[in-house]
């Protein structure tokens, strides 16, 4: 085959017809409120209309469809669970999760954009910012007049962010000078502001980690796009470098303190991911069902063969279990008593089952499964990133292991 075909336009496939029975076997719809269903259906319509027709081509071109940002903001998708007084929609955690699910049904890159803007930029400003910072930034971030990114991970400190080398040193006048660098930063090259996490004292202790709102046009702040990705190609990933970046005293998020602060942000984002990946899994499942019913081999639809039916049965079973985990976790979160360990379980399980669903769909689709015309391989490749970011699968295993045994495998 010729890879020249990759530059041809990717045709949009018609939406998949599925019996209501297969799409929602456990009638989870009935466990949602009318508003939650309405929100889900609205975002679903947006994704069907605006994202799915173009995303295959965006992926092949390695392009994030930034032209969709204003409409996403207009709909209220950014920071949607934060309070209305800051220009946000004030939605429940379950509604927020459903938004993530629908966006990722389109593509993990689109969901990542919304996750970062909402959970990793707006949430820390809401949680650790001064009232002035909240009023200055949150409404503009909700409207996407400002795009944000989140800098925690460094090239040598991913799963162990407490070892970060980025330093912010306070000057006699109260201002700060930041030096260091961050890697794997979603939205980096598009961002107007970055939430930068830095140690404010010498030594190894992670207690001195504080968060800063840094405008990306500050002298000494440079951004380099990460090239050569074979996953999340419809998403911007960047490296940030800080060389004597001088910011005013009021850039500090005053209520941030210690590694716990960025980890609280990650708990929010991971919660959203545990929902989001279900969207990717559902997209793959629906594609698999449609293909299995229509693709004829040995004179009958391949869906009539037991091996494909096992694939589909396994996929649906895991998706239903994942949905119930995410929904219950969302209800716990709304009731104010969810724990990071629960989030670890949900993120770990749901990303895993989504990755498997994408892989099995790719296989069920045979040769067609490697084409960008179908969603499976795109989701499969995307989910390898999701498997790795926001706490790798392995790290979440160890968090659960510690919770179960009381023994810390990290030390």
């Amino acid at each position: 085959m010729s890879f020249d075909t990759l530059s041809d336009p990717i045709p949009a496939l018609p939406s998949v017809e599925l019996s209501a029975h297969a799409a929602d076997l456990f009638n989870i719809d009935a466990a949602l409120t009318e508003e939650e269903r309405a929100i889900r259906d609205t975002v679903r319509a947006f994704v069907d209309e605006k994202i799915i027709p173009i995303i295959g081509q965006c992926y092949v071109d390695g392009r994030f469809p930034a032209e969709l940002i204003p409409e996403m903001a207009e709909m209220g998708l950014l920071g949607s669970s934060l309070p209305e007084e800051y220009g946000c929609a004030g939605l429940s955690s379950v509604a927020y999760g459903l938004i993530m699910q629908e966006l990722e049904r389109g593509d993990s890159g689109i969901r990542s954009f919304a996750s970062v803007q909402g959970a990793l930029v707006m949430y820390p400003i809401f949680a650790f910012g001064s009232e002035e910072q909240r009023r200055t930034y949150l409404p503009r971030l909700a409207k996407a007049e400002l795009i944000g990114c989140f800098g925690l991970t460094e090239s040598d400190y991913g799963s162990n962010p407490s070892g970060m080398i980025t330093r912010a040193r306070q000057q006699p006048d109260g201002s700060w000078i930041i030096n260091g660098g961050k890697m794997w930063i979603t939205n980096g090259n598009m961002a107007d502001i970055a939430i930068v996490w830095a140690k404010t004292e010498d030594g190894d202790s992670d207690k001195s980690i504080r968060g800063f709102i840094v405008h990306t046009d500050t002298p000494g702040f440079s951004v380099k796009e990460t090239k050569g990705k074979l996953s999340l190609r419809a998403s911007v990933t960047s490296e940030l470098v800080f060389e004597d970046v001088h910011v005013a005293a009021n850039a500090l998020l005053p209520n941030s303190g210690g590694l716990k602060s960025p980890l609280m942000c990650l708990t929010q984002a991971r919660y959203g991911i545990s929902w989001g990946v279900l969207g990717a899994a559902l997209a793959c499942f629906e594609e698999a069902v449609s293909y299995a019913k229509n693709r004829v081999m040995f004179d009958r639809p391949i869906g009539g063969f037991q091996i494909q039916q096992v694939r589909l049965a396994d996929m649906l079973t895991e998706i239903v279990k994942g949905q119930l985990v995410a929904l219950h976790l969302g209800r716990l979160k709304d009731a104010g008593n969810f724990t990071p360990v629960q989030v670890s379980l949900a993120k770990r399980n749901n990303v895993h089952i989504a990755t498997e669903a994408a892989r099995e769909t790719r296989r069920l689709l045979g040769g067609n499964g490697i084409l960008a015309e179908y969603a499976a391989m795109r989701h499969m490749a995307n989910l390898e990133s999701v498997y790795t970011y926001e706490g790798t699968h392995d790290v979440h295993s160890l968090i659960l292991g510690q919770a179960i045994t009381g023994l810390n495998a990290f030390k």
């Binding site: 939406s15 009318e34 709909m75 209305e84 929609a89």
Partner: protein, 250 residues
């Protein structure tokens, strides 16, 4: 400007329908429902008129089962201000009975415009709008695909077979909206949250006895599988022969 929009709850069409055992209607199990497509464009038209005028109200009227509240809330999430549900569990509606119930509700409402979708995609009678206009003794313009309101006068373009015409009418009036007038907006999340605080009145629909009764309903016969008669230029003579003798389209 005071506008009423009459909407209908209809099944989403992207599912396979089944007919009930008694053959009189479609099976409702497993169906999902939404606002009739043409009614969505009527809602959008009303919202745009209100926005252009800078003030006014958009009131939604729906005759249907209790669950149709969901469709009224969706219209409110798009921006409608208030709604009323004329509740009825009737399965197949009699057009005149529905029109009478709607007209009774609308009468005395002092609406400048009453908008309908041109047709409902489930029963496809396209009679309710014109009958309501008749019952209210108002001018009616059907199949509107362009609309301009200027004070107490309206100007609309209507679709004809292979042509279009421009008509003028005085307000108040009843219009039925065709596709092509607009593309309906998606409700915003804030709109969805605000919708639950908007006034929705529920009262029983006073439906007269049906005069027209559906006796049976049937699905179209399954289409026969396609046939490949050959490939390339060699297949043309056989294809032409079949189109002439079998399909009889040439």
């Amino acid at each position: 400007m005071k506008i009423a929009v009459c909407i209908k709850r209809v099944p989403v069409m992207e599912v396979k329908f089944a007919i009930t055992a008694d053959g009189s209607r479609y099976e409702e199990t497993g169906l999902k429902y939404d606002i009739n497509d043409f009614d969505l464009w009527a809602i959008e038209a009303a919202l745009q008129l209100k926005e252009k005028a800078g003030d006014g109200t958009v009131h939604v009227v729906c005759l249907g089962p209790n669950a149709a509240q969901e469709q009224i809330r969706k219209a409110m999430a798009m921006g409608a201000d208030s709604g009323v549900l004329l509740e009825s569990d009737a399965r197949n509606y009699d057009g005149l009975a529905v029109a009478r119930a709607l007209a009774a509700e609308l009468k005395g409402g002092a609406y400048d415009l009453v908008l309908f979708g041109r047709i409902s995609i489930d029963s496809m009678n396209q009679m309710t709008g014109p009958m309501v206009a008749e019952l209210l003794d108002l001018p009616v313009v059907t199949n509107v695909f362009k609309l301009d309101i200027n004070g107490a006068t309206g100007r609309a373009e209507r679709v004809l077979e292979g042509a279009s015409e421009v008509v003028e009418f005085p307000l108040p009036a009843v219009l039925t909206i065709d596709d092509g007038l607009n593309k309906e907006r998606l409700p915003s999340l804030k709109g969805i949250m605000a919708a639950k605080k908007k006034p929705l009145e529920i009262k029983p629909a006073n439906l007269d006895a049906a005069q027209v009764t559906v006796r049976s309903m049937a699905l179209p016969a399954e289409r026969a599988a396609g046939r490949i008669v050959g490939e390339g230029a060699d297949a043309v003579p056989e294809l032409v022969r079949l189109l002439q003798t079998e399909a009889k389209v040439l």
